[in-house]
Amino acid sequence: MTKRIYITGIGIISAIGNNVEEVEQSLLAERSGLNGITLFPTIHKDKLPLAEVKLSNEQMVELCGKESDRFLTRTSLLGMIAGKEAVTNSGVNLEDGFKTGLISATTVGGMDRTEGFYKEYLSDPSKGRLRDIVNHDCGDSTERIADYLGISDFITTVSTACSSSANSLMLGAMLIKSGMAERVIAGGTDSLTRFTLNGFNTLMIIDKNGCKPFDENRAGLTIGEGAAFLVLESEELVRTLKRPVLAELTGYGNANDAYHQTASSPEGKGAILAIEKAFLVSGLKPSDISYINVHGTGTLNNDLSEGLAVEKIFGSDVPPFSSTKSYTGHTLGAAGAIEAVISILAVKNNCIFPNLNWAAPMKELSIRPVKNIIKNYEVNHVLSNSFGFGGNNSSLILSKP
């Protein structure tokens, strides 16, 4: 297992920008993407914030350039845009004959259109337009993205709640290390839906005033949407084709908290195990980490549990950390990949993006997140955490090439 995994391209769409450049500008300008609800009619309008991508489906269809895509789900459209940007950004030629895979991740799949179908279906089982339900399953969005990019050598979809796309990057790395693929486009996509908004709302973990991760007065998360994909290539391919490298995926680990279906264990056991595995794979030690992009959802439970895990691993020497969910919202299945891209932008800019909306330190923790942007800071290795329902904990380490 000594083979290295290089990242040669990134693509992203989120509440803070429709491409890498816009996202980078928003991060540097400390501009949050949280907004009032405009995407769909809901009783929560004007009461709860969201982090919406600022494009309608019609505008995304136009960006994708195919009128026939107008029946696609929002999850597919987001993924197609970010996937295409990753490929373009890397400059890779997908027709060069090297074995290429696509691994996507999603939690809602085509639920946005299913909601419309189901309303009619419930009133009469013979009603509801079939074109609104046929794209419901998670695999559909991945096949749409694969068709759009022209990838067919290997394709699959991960769904492990909010750690989904961190896990698609892990599988991508494994495929390349094993020699099963030479290049993998890996990431995830999730659109906002009434289903997820109401689901998280019933758990009473949505902050009415927008998420304030790691703040003493935090009251929950803000749900967001988006997609991000990364082009992973083998060391050999990068050398043979003299490919420019943005970053290296040096470490990854997944562990299960095995404590509760939705809550994290008080001591963050799963988080600690996932971080330790990532260190083991990378050969790095805690003191090598320049910055932690924490999961930091803004819920009472996550931030305390994750904070304690970070204190346990890093002791008295915790590196600067922030939750960029204060910019993008919690993008669920896309979060791992979106935050991997943001981590790479931190490496590229030698900059640590702040934890927006933060004011008061948590009384249970001795650590506090980065409040104001730190520029000209050597960022060599970033630890990025993504934790999900079902105790699913994943950590990635992204490094300067």
């Binding site: 297992m1 809901t42 009783i43 929560h44 999603t106 939690t107 799949g109 299913t114 909601e115 189901y118 309303k119 279906y121 419930l122 089982p125 079939l130 339900i133 399953d137 998670c138 695999g139 991945t142 096949e143 067919s152 290997f154 394709i155 699959t156 979809t157 991960v158 769904s159 492990t160 709640a161 599988l171 494994m174 495929l175 290390k177 094993s178 020699g179 099963m180 009434r194 289903f195 109401n198 689901g199 709302n201 019933t202 758990l203 997944n254 562990a255 299960n256 908290d257 095995a258 509760h260 279906q261 939705t262 056991k269 799963g270 195990l273 999900g388 329902f389 079902g390 105790g391 699913n392």
Partner: protein, 357 residues
């Protein structure tokens, strides 16, 4: 990836047939005239405590029970990984939350069905009951869902020093999911007897469901059913030729040719159009015995897990139940089995199985 095989050292499967008990092997199979094959469910209280059972939806109970039987069968306490594959996950919970949300106009909702609708619920619940902190992943890609779980298990065993990996493929059928997929043309228009599935030359199949778990191990044990040497996943193949070419290449890298395959297990589902590709595929296996299984399992995204169970038990018992025989003499020892399945002609997959003597 190296050619080192992995071994199936334990099985647990809940299906429309009596498959959970190990005593019989597809004797007295279930016949139905409804185009729907639902699982024969055990008494779940034999597997999970009463308090927990009440809160769990059907797929969770099926998954947990099948996984328990599998781990007991393999005499494994705590696997190094739990990897599940499912097309739609706990669809009953998804429907429940969606229906309440729509009917109550987003008010008076409770979180349980939302929580359980998450696709990794079954894998997570297994981990929770075992207190298993190890690698835990769920794949959700149509007819590649279970296949990716198997592939990941093989990768982890070969690249990450894992010894025992629990994998499972599961999907449940609900009235609504049947109705909607019926409208989408997945199922036969007229009721047919499942045991005569291939006699009706019409479009559509019959609906099924199941939860099948396997302990995939690095080493053989006294329990070993079969060895898995290789697998293939082909997305939207352009022709039977492409499938045959890729299959031949896989056999070649395993030092086999088509006539080295003693038995072919096919995912024939009775849809006369979608089944054609199997017939074309079989032209290169003139001497292999042929077996099919979807008249017993029904069609669903992770039905190939039923096929893998069937192949593994055939190899271990060296006997082929009458009810799955399609064509052949069935009078030779069975050393190599090729399982070939496709889902909606989108996701084609193969698994190469060997006898462990």
């Amino acid at each position: 990836m190296s050619n080192a095989p992995v071994y199936i050292n334990g099985l647990g499967i809940i299906s429309p047939q009596k498959t959970l008990e190990k005593s019989a092997f597809l004797e007295n199979v279930t016949g139905s005239e409804t185009n729907i094959l639902k699982c024969r469910e055990p008494n779940y209280k034999d597997f999970v405590s009463g308090d927990l059972v009440r809160r769990m939806s059907r797929l969770i109970k099926m998954g947990i029970s099948a996984s328990k039987v599998c781990l007991q069968d393999a005499e494994c306490q705590n696997p190094d990984a739990i990897i599940t594959g499912t097309g739609l996950g706990c669809i009953e919970d998804t429907e429940k939350f969606l229906t309440t949300m729509i009917n109550n106009n987003e008010e008076f909702l409770t979180p349980t069905s939302f929580i359980q609708s998450t696709h990794n619920t079954v894998g997570a619940q297994i981990a929770l009951l075992l207190k298993c902190h190890n690698y835990n992943i769920t794949y959700v890609h149509r007819g590649f869902s279970f296949e990716t779980a198997l592939l990941d298990a093989r990768l982890q065993i070969q690249e990450s020093d894992f010894i025992n990996v629990l994998i499972g493929g599961m999907d449940e059928l609900t009235t609504n999911s049947f109705n909607i997929t019926y409208r989408l043309g997945h199922w036969k228009r007229k009721p047919v007897n499942n045991l005569r599935l291939l006699e009706f030359k019409t479009k559509g199949s019959i609906a099924g469901e199941g939860a099948a778990f396997f302990l995939v191990s690095k080493d053989r044990s006294s329990k070993t059913y079969s060895a898995i040497s290789d697998q293939l996943m082909i997305l939207k193949p352009k022709s039977a030729h492409e499938i045959i070419t890729k299959c031949s290449a896989m056999l070649e890298r395993n030092n086999l040719s088509t006539n080295g395959i003693d038995l072919v297990i096919l995912g024939l589902n009775g849809d006369f159009q979608k089944d054609k590709i199997y017939e074309e595929f079989l032209t290169v296996f003139p001497d292999s015995d042929q077996v099919y299984f979807k008249h017993l399992s029904g069609e669903y995204q992770t039905a190939s897990a039923f096929g893998l169970w069937l192949g593994s038990v055939i190899l271990q018992r060296q006997s082929v139940p009458e009810v799955v025989r399609l064509k052949g003499k069935f009078d030779q020892p069975i050393r190599k089995i090729l399982l070939y399945n496709h889902y909606q002609n989108l996701n084609h997959s193969m698994i190469l199985l060997s006898q462990v003597s």
